[in-house]
């Protein structure tokens, strides 16, 4: 029946039952096909279409911010997102909290031999959607395949580039005694979404990851003209780690008010069950901001007006403290330290 096959025909990728093979990373035709039928189909744009070893980008007119992030989350699909959307959000947020407008992303994929192409297509599709929503373009990428057993399905590394407005400098060392500390919403959602999935915890309401691109929110915050010192996204290590970093970098102390820190009841319940503290749990769609006390109210109002900042709150203040301690007034009425978490409580969370 070979007569009915059109000349030049190549069998398309089997996106239903196919699996990643070593040849998909080998630099030959199979790899070209994978890129064309899977990656370019979802992510294609004029920069990728240049088809060269590197993308040529137009001048951005000013300072650039570059951030990079590796993603090894397990499970790859979790309530509220997957590794694809996470890989976009994580890097977009790193660039956005520096005050920059994220423009471009590059992505590196490490695939394990045997990984279902259907899952890969779903993940790349979700990356494309996340990038579209965030208004960033994926301009370069690379794919490698490792033998079965040498990877865990799929790892993604993304690098983001953004343009920093003239005159703006946000930095972890700019917090000053008297400044206000703000959070854009409830804490611990992402980490507990992953944990509840891993531990098969059945809750009435499933915990959804907060994975989201924050560049819209940061733009709204910058537009207020408030005196912002810095923004950070409290990912691994949670709010506790981020605040300790800020305290050390700025050489200050921070006093928190536990009652003001928003936590979803289901996240609190899950933490309780597993003996975890929401302060240590990762977020993927939240930011911490430090600003001049006089601008705090205005900034919180602007955050609350944005869909990703509805539960924004002022949670504490920066104080003078040579020991750089983060302390918290507990809801109970006592005071305690808020420390970095020792060891690995929740591995492979992002």
């Amino acid at each position: 029946m070979s007569g009915t096959v059109k000349p030049g025909y190549a069998r398309p990728l089997d996106l239903k039952h196919g699996r990643v093979e070593m040849s998909h990373g080998g630099g030959g035709r199979a790899m070209a096909q994978l890129i064309a039928e899977l990656f370019t189909r979802h992510l294609g744009n004029e920069y990728l279409a240049q088809g060269n070893d590197g993308a040529v980008l137009p001048p951005a007119g000013g300072r650039l911010v570059v951030g990079t992030d590796c993603h090894v989350v397990s499970p790859l699909f979790f309530p509220g997102g997957d590794i694809g959307s996470l890989a976009v959000h994580g890097t977009v947020n790193d660039v956005a909290v520096m005050g920059a407008a994220p423009l471009y992303l590059t992505a590196g994929f490490i695939l394990e031999e045997g990984f279902p192409l259907a899952d890969l297509a779903r993940i790349v599709g979700s990356m494309a959607e996340a990038a579209n929503r965030a208004g960033v373009r994926l301009v370069a990428g690379d794919t490698k395949v490792v033998e079965q057993g040498k990877g865990d399905g799929l790892f993604i590394t993304t690098t983001g580039v953004g343009a920093l407005p003239a005159g703006l400098t946000l930095s972890g060392d700019l917090a000053r005694p008297g400044d206000a500390v703000l959070i854009s919403g409830t804490i611990g959602d992402h980490g507990m979404a992953i944990m509840s999935r891993r531990e098969n915890l059945a809750f009435d309401a499933p915990i959804l990851s907060d994975s989201a691109a924050l560049n819209g929110l940061t733009a709204a915050m910058l537009a207020t003209g408030a005196e912002l010192r810095l923004m950070r996204d409290p990912t691994r290590g949670g709010l506790a780690a981020t605040l300790n970093e800020i305290a050390h970098q700025s050489g200050v102390g921070i006093h928190l008010d536990e009652a003001a820190i928003p936590v979803k009841p289901e996240v609190e319940a899950a933490c309780e069950l597993l003996g975890l503290d929401p302060l240590n749990i990762a977020n993927e769609g939240k930011l911490v901001a430090v600003c001049a006390e006089s601008d705090a109210e205005r900034l919180v109002a602007a955050m609350r007006a944005h869909p990703l900042g509805r539960a924004a709150a002022r949670i504490g203040r920066v104080v003078e403290d040579g020991r750089h301690f983060v302390q918290m007034q507990t809801r109970f009425g006592g005071r305690r330290m808020v420390d970095w978490l020792a060891g690995e409580q929740l591995p492979r969370i992002c």
């Binding site: 009652a259 020991r323 809801r331 420390d339 020792a342 409580q345």
Partner: protein
């Protein structure tokens, strides 16, 4: 209102705090030991000491399962993983406890040991089912609360004929440990540990009931108040202890009536008695050899006893000389009395077991309470 919040209400806490302040007589001191690591953690995490008058002091007790594991026991687990090549299943907290030769289970893992973190013994059973060609050992630690699930797992393995599963049993008992503290020279004769009463364990007491503590109240004249793990429970228990001391009473009182009965959980007790029996003696970190203070697997289930299956001999190993865990677990010293605290020894680089588990006195103080030291020093 959310369930957990009811027990953490700041206003109620202030009310109890005022009652304690009114009850505590200024001319005397009140020293209470919370036996349980769960209480130690709650006290530190919620800042309970800030709500107590200066003359009411809490002493941390030995009820942290990870802390009381002696080095020799961790060594056995490491030997199982590295020499016998078993899949060793353990709770996260035990992974970082320092063992002999600069090792820990974590380090043994990076040297090729197949050591897996589990949340429950049922996870270990699952691993055994999925890996029929490997020996799978569950490193069982903990007080009376964690013992029934281990008993269930052993019976389950027996029923399924799961021949590749066994348990390294290090389950210990609460009453003999309290007894050992009350019998220690520091409490009995030297008086260097003034002890006016105990907060009794929450979860342990749901299993064993409140009756076992009557002996301590009567024989040693020490009041015991059994309390839940919520900070308000702890505050209420401190108030009840203070009242007993003032009235010259030494009774067992139960603050945790929402879960604890005098006789405890008879079903769980029967289950445990069917699978385990008392060890003649067991080494505890800090307390040394304590007679009849731990459990071993009964002969009927010997094939699931890792100590028998792999013919393990126990070798005691002494602690790092500078580490004061032993004295801290007996209430003789405080974490800050240790020269290594916060310098050489931190939660990232623990030198002793008390710095490992969040229920350990050193870790709790380092993580939640160390702002107080430098404030006092300033």
């Amino acid at each position: 209102m959310r369930y957990v919040d009811e027990f953490r209400d700041g206003e109620v806490a202030q009310g109890i705090a005022r009652a304690i302040a009114a009850e505590a007589r200024p001319e005397r001191r009140y020293n209470f030991m919370e036996f349980c690591g769960g209480h130690t953690h709650a006290i530190s995490r919620y800042g309970v000491p800030d709500l107590l008058p200066e003359n009411v002091r809490m002493i941390h007790g030995p009820g942290c399962p990870v802390c009381v594991l002696p080095i020799g026991r961790i060594d056995l687990a490491i030997r199982l993983a590295l020499t016998h090549g078993v899949v060793l299943c353990t709770y996260a907290d035990t992974l970082r406890v320092p063992a002999s030769g600069g090792l820990s289970l974590m380090r043994a893992r990076s040297r090729g040991g197949d050591i897996r973190m589990v949340y429950a013994v049922t996870d270990a059973l699952k691993i055994a089912r999925e890996n029929p060609h490997k020996q799978v050992v569950f490193f069982a630690i903990g007080f009376e609360t964690t013992t029934p699930p281990t008993a269930v797992a052993i019976r389950q393995a027996c029923a399924e004929g799961l021949g590749n599963f066994s348990v390294l049993c290090c389950h210990v008992l609460t009453p003999p440990a309290i007894m050992s503290i009350l019998e220690s020279p520091e409490v009995r004769t030297l008086g260097s540990v003034p002890l006016d009463g105990f907060i009794g364990p929450a979860h342990v007491s749901t299993i064993i009931g409140s009756r076992p503590y009557a002996f301590f109240a009567e024989e040693y004249r020490k009041p015991v108040v059994i309390a839940g793990f919520e900070p308000l429970d702890v505050m209420q228990a401190i108030l009840m202890l203070t009242r007993q001391v003032n009235a010259g009473r030494a009774e067992v009182e139960n603050e945790f009536t929402r879960a604890v009965t005098p006789d405890g959980n008879a079903k769980a007790q029967a289950l445990v008695a069917g699978v385990f029996e008392l060890r003649r003696s067991f080494e505890w970190r800090g307390l040394g050899e304590v007679p009849y203070s731990a459990l071993k697997i009964r002969a009927a289930y010997a094939e699931f006893d890792a100590e028998k299956r792999f013919e393990l001999d126990y070798t005691p190993v002494s602690d790092n000389k500078a580490c004061e865990c032993g004295a801290i677990l007996r209430g003789v010293k405080r974490p800050t009395d240790c020269k290594l605290f916060g310098t050489v020894c931190t939660p990232e680089t623990p030198m002793g077991s008390c710095m490992v588990s969040s229920e350990g006195a050193c870790a709790a103080h380092y993580t939640y309470g160390r702002h107080k030291e430098s404030e006092a020093a300033r």
